[in-house]
């Protein structure tokens, strides 16, 4: 048995990656459709679906808040993890910089969205 094995810290990132991957697989397409296509074009959904009062109410609701937070943060953690690995795979050997850029931006986005959501009150 080899001794002096270093324990990997990957589980944290990997768990976030997995959760984000699952969430985006389940809800990603439909969300893009709603926010990016249906609402702007006024298709399918009633007019005013994403009007300010409605969205504010949604973001102030406990569950809505959680959902928005989860989507933004986890999507980004998922993406950060994958992109970081892909850089490694295509031979751009990611130094600390790439790591900071990928996970750092996910981390920043997490903080920002948490800040905004908390600011919106309950």
């Amino acid at each position: 048995m080899k001794s002096g094995l270093k324990r990997s810290n990957a589980p944290i990132f990997w768990s976030l990656f997995g959760a984000g991957g699952m969430l985006s697989a389940l809800f990603g397409p439909v969300l893009v459709f709603i926010t990016g296509i249906a609402v702007p074009l006024g298709l399918l959904l009633p007019a005013g679906t994403m009007s300010y009062p409605k969205m504010l109410a949604f973001a102030q609701n406990f569950i809505g808040k959680g959902f928005i937070f989860a989507v933004i943060a986890l999507f980004l953690w998922f993406a950060a993890h994958r992109i970081y690995h892909s850089l490694h795979e295509i031979g751009i050997h990611p130094g600390l910089l790439a790591k900071l850029l990928c996970y750092g931006s996910a981390f920043a986005a997490t903080l920002i969205s948490a800040y905004v959501l908390l600011g919106l009150g309950f």
Partner: protein
């Protein structure tokens, strides 16, 4: 056997460490019949054209695991891959990817063997039992939990398939982790915790990015990707549990 033999072109990646600086391709024209495997084609070249052509083989029946090669870029056992499936096109044969080439089609497997040794691939009994007490009893469910992972023939095709191993040769890799999982899942064994240290280490399962090609090429349907990925979950659980456990912290 018919008299008018068909001729197939076999292109072989040659590397002679004592005279070549790098590998190069050479083409041979080999007469073949429909029941001839790629291995037999290569043997024909050795027997008739160039005795210095070097490759591993033994059983010819896809069980000893020695004859893995890249055949048209895909890792396969050459003894169960048939020339007729390539004819009339040329077939290209190279040493297994991701391993250092020793000579021609022979690669250096010492790293892999070291990994096999490192996973403690033997029963560390959960409960001692003497020979007089007879065999351990295993229910069909207990048996089915690990049997799939016992069929690995150590052919290392999965390593030739795994880009993460190619990028990081220290990665313990699919087959060794599948074997580790085999012992962890065996109801007679009680050493899963001991093996966790390796699973969770920097050489461990988190090198895998679920490419999944390892399972795709595995000739024995071991599904090593499954073993690797189940152990990611196990390692993650273990990781968080360590924070929660009263002893606290990881080693």
């Amino acid at each position: 056997m018919s008299d008018t033999k068909k001729i197939i072109e076999i292109e072989v990646l040659r590397y002679q460490p004592e005279s070549d600086t790098e590998p190069h391709l050479e083409v041979y024209k080999v007469p073949f019949s429909d029941d001839m495997s790629v291995l037999q084609g290569v043997q024909y070249i050795k027997d008739n054209f160039d005795g210095s052509l070097t490759f591993r083989w033994s059983c010819r029946m896809a069980i000893c695991g020695s004859c893995g090669m890249m055949i048209n870029g895909i890792p396969k056992l050459s003894c169960e891959t048939f020339l007729r499936d390539y004819y009339p096109n040329r077939v290209r044969v190279e040493a297994m990817a991701h391993f250092p080439i020793e000579k021609d089609l022979v690669v250096d497997l010492s790293g892999f063997i070291g990994k096999l040794e490192s996973i403690q691939p033997y029963i560390i009994p959960r409960e001692a039992r003497s020979l007089e007490q007879g065999e351990y009893i295993q229910s069909p469910e207990q048996f089915n939990a690990y049997i799939q992972f016992t069929s690995c023939i150590n052919c290392t095709l999965c390593y030739a398939a795994c880009p993460q191993f190619g990028l990081n040769p220290d990665f313990i890799g699919p087959a060794a982790i599948a074997l580790l999982h085999r012992y962890n899942m065996d109801s007679r064994d009680g050493a899963a915790e001991q093996r966790m240290e390796l699973v969770a280490s920097e050489e461990g399962v988190f090198n895998c990015s679920a490419v999944g090609y390892c399972s795709e090429v595995c000739p024995k349907h071991v599904d090593p990707a499954n073993a690797v990925n189940i152990n990611k979950t196990n390692a993650a659980k273990d990781y968080f549990l360590r924070f929660l456990s009263p002893k606290g912290g990881s080693k």
